[in-house]
């Protein structure tokens, strides 16, 4: 019954059949739409609409890969993704500013709701109460975590939040020099330097713990835990030193650690910044994350970024609006506190949902699990011949290990065993590795790490 003949005009199988010019799903205009619209516009062709472009430069060649259909795109991206060796099916002991934590399953479906995902910055409050209230809640949660009076709607990330905090300290104090601990994450320090350089502000990176300030310093900025994971009991002393010099005390905190450790407000912080990623945000090769920014009430008019405030509508019903906008670039232009405009709202929302799901017990439990497992791991590694854990100061969930061989070599060997090792910090400290252990690491993983390291000694 196989039929071999077929009328060439039959709408038939196969790509050779002459399909009508295919529309793109992202562009609804059809040929008839276009014709009708051009007639209304009074133009002969769409090309006419581009007549203001200097003719020699119009319609340049574009050397781009051919368009992919959605299926091909997904296949291509799957192939690319296969070249990443990620933590999904491996044990991961890498931290250093980006942390693998449990993300409750409710976070993603809520955050990815189209109404949150595809709305703009809430300029029209009557139809943006969803975003506005979640920002108000985010601000409140950041205050609760840090113990500070006020917080903004979020910054690009923790590092730029620290930089903006230092700039704010300069604006507040009228000084043009900032002091930063050299145990702040080196990348963050680099960001601070960049922002400071723009404004012509000097940066002193002071040896951690030895903070000698002068009357020139606008602030002292420290990280707690520091880059090597250590939590210092001296933070209160540093804060006093800063205040004694008339400087602000700026603390960069890990938000998960705040489930267990004292709020920076309690030891004198004037500004607290944090990288929010640890609260429900995927690693995503480094971004998008969100910076948390909180400070004392008296600085609110010098804060950078969006701020949401509570108010009422004409009928007296509670509502929220963007407020204190006279600080911002769209009103104050070159005299704005910062140029920041679009920030990381959706990620701020993710952290809010995450915290709402965890609650105080959940966050404390996560912090405790990190603490316990990291200390279990540290003890296990410290016991290995050839390895030594640096334990001169208390730590939270990251610690430094001295390795018998260059860490890069060890890491390559660990990867073959399905383990993502710690950060090679040999550039800072010879033969050292910075390891991170969180609630995501099972005891079996930690034991496997110890076994592997022993073999690699």
């Amino acid at each position: 019954m196989t039929t071999e003949t077929q009328d060439a005009t039959t709408p038939a199988a196969g790509p050779a059949a002459e399909a009508p010019a295919v529309q793109h799903p992202y562009i609804p205009l059809t040929d008839d739409d276009r014709a009708a619209m051009l007639a209304t516009v009074g133009a002969a062709s769409t090309a006419d609409l581009f007549a203001d472009i200097p003719a020699p430069h119009r319609l340049p060649a574009l050397d781009l890969p051919d368009a992919l259909s959605e299926l091909e795109l997904l296949q291509a991206m799957q192939a690319l993704g296969a070249n990443n060796r990620v933590a999904t099916e491996r044990a991961c002991f890498l931290g250093a500013g980006a942390y693998r934590h449990f993300r409750p399953s409710i976070v993603e479906p809520l955050v990815m709701r189209g109404e949150f995902l595809t709305s703009y910055t809430p300029y029209q409050p009557e139809v943006s109460q969803g975003t506005l209230q979640t920002i108000f809640e985010f601000q409140s949660l950041v205050c609760a975590l840090t113990g500070m009076d006020v917080a903004n709607a979020g910054m690009y990330d923790g590092a730029s939040a620290l930089a903006e905090a230092c700039l704010m300290a300069c604006a507040v104090t009228g000084r043009r020099r900032i002091a930063v601990s050299d145990r702040v994450h080196p990348h963050w320090l680099d960001v601070v330097r960049g922002y400071a350089r723009g404004r012509g502000i000097a940066v002193d990176a002071l040896p951690h713990g030895e903070f000698t300030l002068t009357g020139e310093h606008a602030c002292l900025a420290v990280a707690q835990p520091d880059f090597f994971g250590r939590v210092s009991a001296d933070a209160g002393v540093w804060g006093e030193a800063a205040h004694a010099a008339g400087a602000l005390f700026v603390v960069a905190a890990d938000p998960v650690s705040l489930g267990l450790y004292r709020a920076p407000a309690d030891y004198g912080a004037d500004v607290v910044v944090a990288e929010g990623q640890a609260l429900g945000v995927p690693l995503s090769y480094g971004g998008p994350y969100v910076g948390m920014f909180a400070c004392r009430e008296r600085f609110i008019r010098q804060m950078p970024g969006r701020i949401v405030g509570q108010t009422a509508d004409l009928d007296g019903r509670r509502g929220y609006v963007l407020t204190l906008q006279t600080r911002e670039q769209h009103i104050r232009r070159e005299r704005a506190t910062s140029n920041i405009c679009t920030s990381q709202q959706l990620i701020a929302l993710a952290t809010a949902v995450h915290l709402a799901a965890l609650g105080p017990r959940g966050l404390r439990r996560v912090a405790e699990l990190c603490y316990e497992k990291a200390h279990y791991a540290a003890a296990a590694l410290d016991a290995l011949p050839g390895y030594a854990v640096e334990r001169d100061e208390p730590f939270f969930h990251e610690f430094v290990v001295r390795t018998p061989r260059p860490p890069a070599e060890i890491n390559r060997a660990l990867m073959e065993r399905g383990i993502i090792g710690g950060l090679d910090v040999s550039d800072l400290l010879r033969h050292r590795m910075l390891l991170c252990v969180t609630e995501m690491n099972t005891r079996a993983e930690i034991d496997a790490l110890a076994t592997a390291l022993e073999e690699l000694a």
Binding site: Y26, I27, P28, L29, M37, T40, L49, D52, H57, R58, L59, L64, E70, M77, N83, N84, R85, V86, A87, T88, A96, A98, F102, I106, M112, G114, L117, T118, S119, P122, E126, V127, S128, Q133, F136, V191, R193, A233, L258, L260, Y285, G286, G287, P288, I307, Q310, T311, T323, N339, I340, C341, T342, Q345, L355, A357, V366, L369, Y371, R443, I446
Partner: protein, 482 residues
């Protein structure tokens, strides 16, 4: 049934003892090493909710938002276009979402290949030589580019301190210039919307060798393509200054013209406008910058390079350093990469064509009822002035609020500042003719209402979750947290 509260806050919903998720018990022995008691906190005043309450709270809040997924959202200068869900799906795959930013390059070749490809494609689309993906939003891209220019100028021994910015510019332009340590000199447009060449000449001459750059938006924030752009670039270059392009409006130019061909030296691109990254209620976005060859050595860190077929992160030799902790908003970059690959050169060109046709169609349909700021072919957005309606007693703000009653998100209003009662409509390529027609019908009806019953507009919106909000009190007596 009108309640005083649309939705309680998390704290109002909190009840001591509730939890929203379970966490495991520890599977390791309790460490003998205890954290010093002095370091521990005793209270942690976070809200305590059941799982259902958390889900319901955020679901209900979401419904109070309007969004591209629910409404036409013709916000000028914001390019509120379709945000393809396939890009979200790709960004959510563990192969990308679980990649750690500190992993060695050899273990993240997939992620680096995406970044390298995007660097190349953005440079190609804009006709520039090099690209950095590090900036985390448009404004940070501006800052990065201006710092790059500054570093370049310093490298050739030029210490220039002024940046010229048209006064129609977006607020981030002058704010950026000042963050980068420059003084700002403003120039006005001429009546047809193009830059006033005499004013520019005067500014360049007055500030002479101190001028580092002109920051100009193309198409301009008036929705126009400056017909003198090549001449402008020549003038700027003749003074030894550089051409900085604010690329927020790139959606009008894809495949139509390359800024690099017009003499631009540096430019930032808003991936969350032209390249379909969802706005997320205020980010995340990404603001990659593209530059000409002479600026490339000054780009921020990290830059993705390909050596012997392997990708690696590198620091440009004279780079301005890092802008954020890691390598840019990777998830956003990934979406933009997927978007460009979904469209190819022809698709991108078709995007611009449709975006510009749609804006001109709205202009043609509404020009009888609303005053045009400039009566000429517009690009991807059209700029009206509500001055005629204001004379009847309904300001642009009132028109905007009334649009809500008709089911349309208001356009951008009172920007740019140089146009009285500005009302800037950017339909984007994503809307159908039917939607545009219904939108224009509503705008025409509102124009009629403005004449006959302006109080209807002044009291609008009537059909939103809330009526107008008291912004003055919010700023005067700020309540910023529970």
């Amino acid at each position: 049934m009108s309640t005083q509260i649309l939705e309680k806050t998390l704290m109002e919903l909190s009840h001591a003892g509730r939890v929203g998720v379970t966490l495991p018990e520890s599977d390791v022995p309790r460490s003998a090493e205890r954290p010093p008691a002095a370091l521990l906190r005793d209270e942690l005043p976070l809200p305590e909710l059941s799982q259902l309450d958390v889900v319901r709270h955020f679901t209900r809040l979401s419904q109070l938002n309007w969004s591209i997924d629910t409404h036409m959202y013709p916000l000028g200068s914001c390019t509120m276009k379709l945000n393809p869900k396939v890009n979200d799906a790709i960004a959510a795959t563990p192969a990308f979402a679980e990649a750690h930013p500190m992993q060695p390059a050899e273990d993240v070749q997939g992620a680096l290949a995406v970044m390298h490809g995007l660097q190349r494609m953005l440079a190609e689309i804009t006709g520039m030589d090099a690209c950095s993906l590090a900036p985390l939003a448009g404004a940070q891209g501006e800052l990065a580019a201006v710092l790059v220019i500054k570093a370049y100028l310093e490298s050739i021994g030029e210490h220039r301190t002024t940046i010229v910015v048209p006064d129609s510019a977006h607020g981030t332009n002058p704010a950026t210039a000042s963050m980068a340590g420059f003084d700002v000199v403003a120039v006005k447009p001429q009546p047809d919307g193009d830059m006033d060449l005499d004013a520019l000449r005067a500014a360049l001459e007055e500030h002479g060798p101190t001028v580092a750059a002109l920051m100009i938006t193309l198409p301009s924030t008036l929705g126009l393509f400056d017909r003198n752009i090549v001449r402008i670039a020549e003038m700027v270059h003749a003074h030894g200054a550089l051409m900085y392009g604010d690329g927020a409006n790139l959606n009008a130019m894809l495949g139509q013209v390359k800024p690099g061909d017009l003499g631009f030296d540096a430019m930032h691109i808003n991936l969350h406008k032209t390249f379909s990254q969802p706005h997320g209620g205020g980010g995340p976005g990404a603001g990659p910058i593209v530059v000409s060859a002479r600026l490339a050595p000054f780009l921020p860190s990290p830059h993705v390079e390909q050596v012997d077929g392997r990708y690696a992160l590198a620091d440009p030799p004279h780079g301005i350093g890092r802008l954020g902790a890691f390598h840019g908003n990777f998830g956003v970059l990934l979406r933009a990469y997927a978007y460009i690959r979904s469209l190819g050169a022809d698709g991108l060109r078709a995007i611009s064509e449709a975006a510009v046709l749609n804006a001109n169609y709205v202009q043609a349909r509404l020009r009888g009822a609303y005053d045009l700021a400039h009566d000429r072919t517009c690009m991807h957005e059209v700029l009206f002035s509500g001055r005629r309606q204001k004379a009847h007693g309904a300001k642009t703000l009132d028109i905007a609020k009334r649009m809500i009653d008709y089911g349309y998100h208001p356009p951008t209003i009172y920007f740019p500042l140089v146009v009285d009662e500005a009302l800037m409509i950017e339909p984007t390529e994503s809307e159908t003719k039917e939607t545009l027609d219904a939108f224009c019908d509503a705008m025409l009806e509102i124009a009629r209402e403005a004449e006959t019953q302006p109080e209807l507009l002044r009291e609008a919106p009537h059909a939103a979750p809330l009526r107008r909000l008291d912004e003055a009190t919010a700023a005067r007596k700020p309540i910023l947290r529970w």
